[in-house]
């Protein structure tokens, strides 16, 4: 009998089961039907991608300053290039761009500070962002103080306005939404009724109607000395509308917390606000992240509706640029650019929410 006392050395897996070829065979070409679909898919991809790349990059015109510099075979990025600062700042006077840039930079720094986990003093930063930053931003953007020339709000526009609308909407809607959600679950009949009516009213009316009422009807009811800036009107409308949706998202989260948690906290002698602030809300908010971010993303996209009340957000200023007779016929380039910018913002928000969910995960995830 032969006893092999040596352990047989480990051998690599058979050639046919590893490497890209094996992966292809296992996933894309296992069987005639899958092979057929793979080839079909590749062909469709080829049909879509090649002309797009050809149009957007290979045949595209990048440099120049008028429509004559565009061959019109491919995309005319000259148009976006010539209008870029307008797409960013709207009709804000170009010699005052530095003011908007400072606000942009501070905004980006605050976001980065809040997002990067290692940085300290988050609480102070949040207080600064909520209380002091809006004042600085207003003074810088609007002017009229410290010898800064006034730039009235009808000249604000572009990405700046989109971000402003979205940020104010989000920051305003979350606390109002929490209060409304708690109110709706309250046992006090007047508070409860008020919250239900408020939520159902604002949810029952399309945003476009609210903006329209705020911009067209409201000025007729107000005395002419009391004219509220149209941007402020839009901001208030947007925030109230959004807070009604936010309230329902938060109520959904609150209902997912077992009643025992609240009762146990009450048994320890906690007051209502302590129970909510220390026990219920921290658990609930974590579960609401997908819903809240969903609402934020939809708000970010909804801001384009202010176009109908004559405010030039990013999409509005692109459309206004399209109606310049010197740049007629470049609508695809303009819309592609706007879509790309919106995608960047929405996609980053979505990625951040996924990261936040993983970070706060305490085993609820299934």
């Amino acid at each position: 009998m032969i006893h092999n006392k040596e352990t047989i050395p480990q051998r690599p897996a058979p050639k046919g089961t590893i490497g890209p070829v094996a992966w292809l065979r296992g996933n894309l070409f296992n069987g005639p039907i899958n092979s057929l679909f793979t080839l079909l898919g590749l062909y469709v991809l080829y049909l879509l991608v090649v002309p797009t790349v050809q149009w957007a990059f290979i045949d595209a015109d990048w440099v120049g300053d008028s429509r004559e510099d565009c061959s019109r075979v491919g995309a005319c990025w000259v148009f976006v290039n010539a209008r870029f600062s307008q797409f960013m700042y709207g009709l804000y006077p170009s010699e005052e761009y530095w003011r908007a840039n400072i606000v942009f930079a501070m905004f980006a720094a605050i976001i980065a500070w809040m997002v990067i986990p290692r940085l300290p003093f988050k609480r102070w930063m949040a207080l600064f962002a909520l209380l002091i930053f809006p004042i600085i931003a207003y003074v810088l953007l609007h002017g009229g103080y410290f010898d800064l020339p006034r730039v009235s709000t009808h000249r604000w526009g572009g990405l700046m306005l989109t971000l402003l609308l979205a940020t104010v909407g989000m920051v305003g809607a979350l606390p109002i939404g929490i209060v409304l959600a708690l109110g709706r679950r309250s046992n006090m009949p007047i508070v409860k009724t008020f919250c239900v009516i408020f939520i159902e009213f604002w949810r029952g009316v399309p945003l476009i109607t609210i903006l329209f009422m705020a911009s067209v009807m409201l000025p007729l009811f107000l005395p002419s000395e009391l004219s509220v800036d149209r941007l402020v009107r839009a901001l208030i409308g947007l925030t109230l509308f959004q807070s009604a949706y936010m309230a329902e998202v938060i109520r959904g989260g609150l209902q997912a917390i077992p009643k025992g948690q609240d009762e146990a906290a009450a048994a320890l002698g906690m007051t209502y606000w302590k129970r909510m602030g220390l026990i219920v809300m921290p658990q609930a908010l974590k579960m609401m992240i997908p819903g809240i971010v969903n609402t934020f993303i939809s708000l970010f996209k909804d801001t384009t509706l202010v176009m109908i009340i004559g405010l030039f957000d990013l999409l509005g200023i692109v459309q206004a640029a399209l109606s310049d007779s010197r740049w007629l016929g470049f609508s695809i380039e303009g819309y592609v650019f706007a879509a790309f910018v919106f995608w960047i913002f929405c996609f980053s928000m979505s990625r951040y929410s996924q990261y936040l969910e993983r970070k706060l995960n305490t085993g609820h995830k299934r």
Partner: protein, 341 residues
């Protein structure tokens, strides 16, 4: 614009009862001088009439009316706050005092002039519905369009005008309806119809979006009346006069051959009409509480009507709209301004 006309009328009807109460501040001139800028309502983007250029300055035929008023009142054509308005909110903005002049390709109609508490101050562009056809068809007039398939935007008065015109002339047509103007051009481009109809000012803008603009032509026939002009609130006749005569000054300047370039030297002209226009012989701004130089300021800073027209929509612009009915009265058109005397 025109596709929103019905909606606009609806909103106007809603605000009818409110129109009266909104004529609050009666001294627009004083407010404007105090503010240092004219509050002017313009379109949120209409090629050749109002659109921001690459540097963010508003340009266009309608914009030039705002600039003319600012030049007359404040001596500075740049002293304008442009407020972009869409078709629905334009009248409310004027009634509520958000803007003091509405210069937004607004068609002068009985309803608007008599029931909204507004006054039209004149016509700065005689528009009307026209046709664009391919040159290959060899058509030269609208009455050769019997049996044609026509691309048209849905829900506009354009659609009604077209049906009326063909019925009145006992002709047949095959309407191909699209939702937006871009789709309409797309349909025309793809050969789904022989003819595209819209207002002539729009047709020019649509034409340059075609792959080969030269292959299509705009027929000279016009089948509807769309006189576009600036609008002010009722109840402030002084302001009404200022806006009205700002436009008249531009038209008169063209008639007398005064341009932005020669305005300075024309001040020494012997022609009594020119001398009165430029404030060298009597003060004709007095009745409007303006300086004698009011018209000179308009012409030297904005230009006369011909300059404004050619620069924004005419041959010096990509739109290349011909003067046609917008020529002066002594040149075969409708543009006629009362004399300055």
């Amino acid at each position: 614009m025109f596709n929103k006309k019905h909606l606009a009328l609806l909103a106007s009807a809603g605000s009818l009862s409110l129109a009266g109460m909104a004529t609050a501040q009666a001294d627009t001139l004083e407010d404007t001088i105090e503010r240092g800028a004219v509050q002017c309502g313009v379109s949120d983007g209409l090629p050749g009439f109002s659109a921001p250029d690459d540097d963010g300055n508003w340009q266009g035929l309608d914009v030039d009316v705002c600039r003319a008023v600012a030049a007359a009142v404040l001596g500075d054509s740049e002293a304008v706050n442009y407020i972009s308005l869409n078709a629905v909110e334009r009248f409310t903005a004027l009634q509520s005092g958000e803007v003091d002049v509405l210069s937004r390709n607004t068609t002068w109609t009985t309803t608007r002039d008599t029931t909204l508490g507004l006054n039209f101050t004149g016509v700065n562009f005689y528009d009307g519905q026209g046709f664009m056809v391919s040159r290959d068809l060899g058509i030269s007039s609208a009455d050769e369009l019997d049996g044609a398939s026509i691309c048209i935007q849905s829900g506009t008065t354009t659609e009604l005008n077209l049906a009326d015109y063909f019925r009145a002339n006992d002709m047949e047509f095959n309407p191909i309806v699209f939702d937006t103007s871009e789709q309409t051009v797309g349909g025309y481009q793809a050969g789904r119809c022989d003819v595209l109809t819209s207002d002539t000012s729009q047709l020019a803008a649509l034409r340059i979006q075609l792959d080969d603009p030269e292959a299509s032509m705009i027929l000279s026939d016009v089948i509807s009346k769309e006189p576009l002009g600036p609008v002010v609130r009722q109840g402030d006749d002084l302001w009404f006069n200022i806006v009205k005569w700002s436009l008249f000054a531009m038209i008169n300047a063209e008639e007398y051959g005064v341009t932005s370039e020669n305005a300075e030297e024309m001040r020494d002209s012997d022609n009594p009409d020119v001398a009165r226009l430029l404030g060298q012989d009597g003060n004709y701004g007095e009745g409007m509480n303006l300086e004698a130089e009011w018209a000179y300021n308009i012409i030297s800073q904005v230009g006369n009507y011909a300059e404004s027209f050619e620069r924004n929509v005419g041959m010096d612009s990509p739109l290349e709209i011909e003067r046609g009915v917008n020529a002066l009265w002594n040149d075969g058109g409708f543009q006629y301004a009362p004399p300055i005397r």
